[in-house]
Structures are given as C-alpha cells and as structure tokens.
C-alpha cells in the first residue's frame, strides 16, 4: 500500500518524545562525567608517557630548543621497574591491605552474624550503630587514634607499664605501622560488616535445623553450612575494604612514621612534593591496574560461589 505510514501520527510523536526524553535525561550526567571523569583519566594515561616540566606539570610535546626535554617517552615506566623501592612499596601496600581485610573480616563476622540472628526489630538499630561512627568525618576518626595511641595516653602507659614489668624496652604506639593498621581497620570496618550482614540475613534457618537433625555439631554447622554460604558476602566486603586501603595516603600520613609510606603517599609526593607529574601518573596507573585486578578477582569469586547458594 503506497503511502502507508503504518505508524499513526500521534504514535510517531510519542516515539520521538520518548527518544528525546532519553537524551534529555541521560545527556547531562553523561556529558558531565565524560568531561570530569573519563577525560581526566585519559589525560592521566597520556601524561604518564611525557617528561616532567621544569617547574612541575608536563614538559612540552615540542620545543624549539632541542636541549629541553620534549616529546613522548617510556622513561617513567622504565624508572618504575628499574628501582626496586617502588615494587617494594606496592608489595607493602598489598600486605597492609591484606592484613586490614583479614582483621576486618575477623572482627566483622561475629557482629554481622549476631545482627542477622537477632530479632527483626533490633536489627535496624544494631546496623545503625555500626554506621553511625562511620558517618563522622574521616579525619576525626583517624585523629581519634592519635589521642588513644599518643605517648601520654592510658593505653600507651598500660602497654609500657607491662613491658617494663617484663623487663622490656618501652614502645611508641603512635607513628608506627601498628597505628596505621589499627586506624585502617577502624576506618573500613563498616564496609565489611554491611555486606556480610546483608548476606547472612538471607540464610534460611531451616538449613541449620536440618544440619542439626542430621547430627552436625555447632562447629560443623558453622563451617559446613553458614560459612560457605556467606562467601559472596565475604568477597564483596573484602573488595570494599581492600581497594580503598590500597590507595590510602591520609592514614599513613597522619599516624605512620617516616618509613610507613604506602602507594598513596608515593603518588601524593609525586604530585604535590617533587612535582614529577608523569611519574605520579605512572604510579596512579599501576594502582589502577592493581585495583582492577582485585575487583575482577573478587567479582569472579563472588559470582562463582554465589551460584552455589
């Protein structure tokens, strides 16, 4: 039938309106994030292949004077792999993130389990009590440990009193790897409790009853029923702790000693201290790669385990 539009005029108007709505709704946030998230990321990758400028920033791509550094280079990457100190800092940061994750898991598990097995009406309050301190300013939570671990604090005096009694040298709790680890755990603990609780809450209690009826001890019921079922919660909680710890610079900066630098401190130093932006970009890219690997691993593990449940 010639001239058949097959779609009536009002219907076509509706389709056009719907398409327009899609653009109006998704366009502004898309453009904003393109400009201030995606493009800066690309710029950082490009910057890692440049030379540092004389007074910070980047050296020009082309300069009239052949004596000035210019053009593109793999120098920053060569430098990263040639000096073992950078690899060591990465390894140290990974160990710090690993230790923080394990301690958070050990502390969060009993709490999450208790909340999940509490009566429904008290659960919300118990969860809120976990979130509440986490809502106070990050710096304040770090600063609090400056007081708790300070040389004059009750804890320091207690520890050093005990050490003195045992005939040992006194220790400094503050400005040490120990202080960094404690505050890392403190700052990230809720990130572990919440996903664990969300997982544990969904478990069907009849599974435990069945296990008990079949003669499983409390220990067996935990390790062979509850724990395997909670693995997706463990993996997502671990990712939420591990990733921010890996990039953290403020905690070692405030509570650590001079030797407690992590990747974040290296990056901060390159951008604001030595002002070698290309190398700072290279370090940031290495951190990004580490984070992506961890996130991918956690997603894979959580996904595979999740399919059993």
């Amino acid at each position: 039938m010639p001239g058949c539009s097959c779609v009536t005029e009002p219907a076509r108007k509706l389709v056009t309106a719907a398409r327009l709505t899609k653009w109006v709704v998704s366009g502004p946030p898309f453009l904003f994030l393109l400009l201030f998230f995606v493009i800066p990321g690309i710029i950082m990758v490009l910057a890692s292949f440049r030379y540092p400028g004389e007074f910070g920033g980047l050296a020009p791509l082309t300069a009239a004077d052949p004596a000035t550094l210019q053009g593109v280079t793999l120098e920053t990457y060569r430098f990263f792999f040639s000096d073992p100190i950078y690899g060591q800092v990465f390894v140290k940061s990974i160990f710090m993130a690993l230790a923080t994750t394990l301690i958070c898991l050990t502390m969060a598990y009993p709490l999450a389990l208790l909340i999940a097995r509490s009566p429904k009406k008290s659960r919300d309050l118990m969860v809120l009590l976990v979130i509440l301190p986490f809502a106070s300013n990050f710096l304040i939570r770090v600063y609090a440990w400056m007081i708790v671990l300070g040389p004059q604090s009750a804890l320091s005096r207690l520890v050093n009193g005990l050490l003195h009694g045992l005939g040992m040298e006194p220790v400094h709790l503050l400005f040490s790897p120990f202080a960094v680890l404690v505050a890392m755990v403190y700052v990230h603990l809720p990130f572990m409790v919440l996903p664990l609780y969300t997982n544990l809450e969904k478990h069907d209690p009849s599974l435990l009853d069945a296990a008990q009826d079949l003669g499983a001890s409390a220990w067996q019921r935990f390790w062979r029923v509850t724990f395997p079922l909670s693995l997706p919660g463990i993996f997502s909680g671990s990712a939420l702790v591990f990733i921010p710890v890996l990039g953290m610079f403020a905690v070692p900066d405030i509570l650590g000693g001079t030797g407690d630098m992590l990747i974040g401190n290296l990056i901060k130093e390159q951008f604001l201290g030595t002002r070698d932006w290309p190398f700072g970009s290279t370090l940031s890219i290495m951190l990004t790669i580490a984070v992506l690997l961890i996130a991918w691993l956690a997603a894979r593990l959580a996904g595979r385990r999740g399919s059993y449940g």
């Binding site: 998230f37 995606v38 304040i140 604090s153 403190y186 403020a250 940031s284």
Partner: protein
Amino acid sequence: MDNATMRRGRWLWAAALAVYAFLYVPLAIVVAYSFNDSRLNAEWVGFTWHWYEVLLHDEAMLTAAGNSLLIALVSSLVSTALGTMAGIAMHRYKLKLLTFMVLTPVAMPEILLGVSLLLFFIQVLNLTLGMLSIVLAHITFSIGFVAVIVRARLAGMDESIFEAARDLGASPWETFRYITFPLILPGVVAGGLMAFTLSIDDFVITFFTAGVGVSTLPLHIYSMIKIAVTPEVNAVSTLLMLLTLTMIVLAAKFAPDVLKGKT
C-alpha cells in the same frame, strides 16, 4: 535452645560488644577531651567550655567552615540534579556505559580521582585551583551516590503506574512532573543530604583540587593535626559529629529505607 547454642550466643555477644566498644571508645574520648581543661590530650583535669570559645574566635577555622558549607550547598544541588537524572536513566534505559561512568568514581580509591582532576584542571583547563575546582570535583564523586539511591527507589516501584500515565495521554514531562518525581522525591532528598554530607566531609579529593588559596574544614583540621594538636580539634570534631548526626536523623526521616540499603 541447647547449652552449646547458648554458650555460642554468649560468645557472639561478647565479640560484638567488643567491636562496638572499638567503634565508639575513640570517638567518645575525642568528645570528652573537648571539654577537658588541659592543653594535653592525656588526662582528665576538669570541665571547661574553653575550647569551644577558642573555636568561635578562630577566624581561619570559621572561614574554612564557611567555604565548606558553600561548596557543599552548591555541589550537592548540582549533583542531586545530575544524579537523579543518572539514576532514572540507569533504571529505565539500562545504559551500560553510563552505569559504568556513574559507579566507577564511587568504587575506586579517591586519590585516583583527585590526582587525575588536578592534572586535568591545571594541564588542560588551565584553571586556577580554588572554589570552582573543588565544587566540580565534589559533583563528580557525588553523582554516583545520588544515582544509586534514586535507582534503588525506582527499582522498588510498579512500572505499570508509568504505563498508565502514558496510556492516559500524559507527556513524558507530565509523567515525570506528576508521577515519577513525587514518588522518587524521598530518594532525591536522601541523595541530596548524602551528597551534602560527603562534600562537607571530603578530605582526599579536596586536598588535591583545592590549591593554596582556599581551605575547607577538613583541610584546616588536617593542617591542625599535622602541625600542632590542640583540644580545639576535639571541639570542632564534636560539633561536626553533631552535625552529621542531625543529617542522618533527617535522612532517616525522609527515606527510612535508604539507611538500611546503604551498602
């Protein structure tokens, strides 16, 4: 309940109480020492309001607080608008790329966003770091949080309401204005409060995008902690905790389900 279960229950309670103590004791000490009549954060000497008076006369601190409020107000308004759009778009059109762009800044270490924005502002935009760069950075990381809250709100809704509105001849704008928006409003308000709190609280990203001229409350607190710790830090910390507490109560009032879903 058999004996073993009860024993285990007691164990769980003991472990949980220890964790709660770990969470609250350090903050309680900060609050207590803000009323302590001593320059050292070491022993309780006596009650005083002195550190709050010092705080009230600290020009630099008040300027920084004013900056923080202004930045939080502007960035939370813009990020609420953009985040709401993003949340709706993610829910309705399932745009993979947009979802990735919205969620990644939330999930990655803050320092990466901080340094890449520093590079971008200086090297590409040739912008002098200051209020504008901080506001732009704060909007960037807040959009994701607002979007997630709004999307969660939409996900719990019956799609047929929107279809009914369309069938009855409502234009997309009318559907949004009279149906969608009133329904997601609690999520939008909660997202806005969240963005405001995140902005007031942010240290890392602000640290890299602030430059030398402008200070915010967290930046000022940081320099106080790094240079010389006085109990004035305790006083400002206590006031900030009070502020955040108020924000949480407000958020809980507008959208009680948001606090629970905050993972």
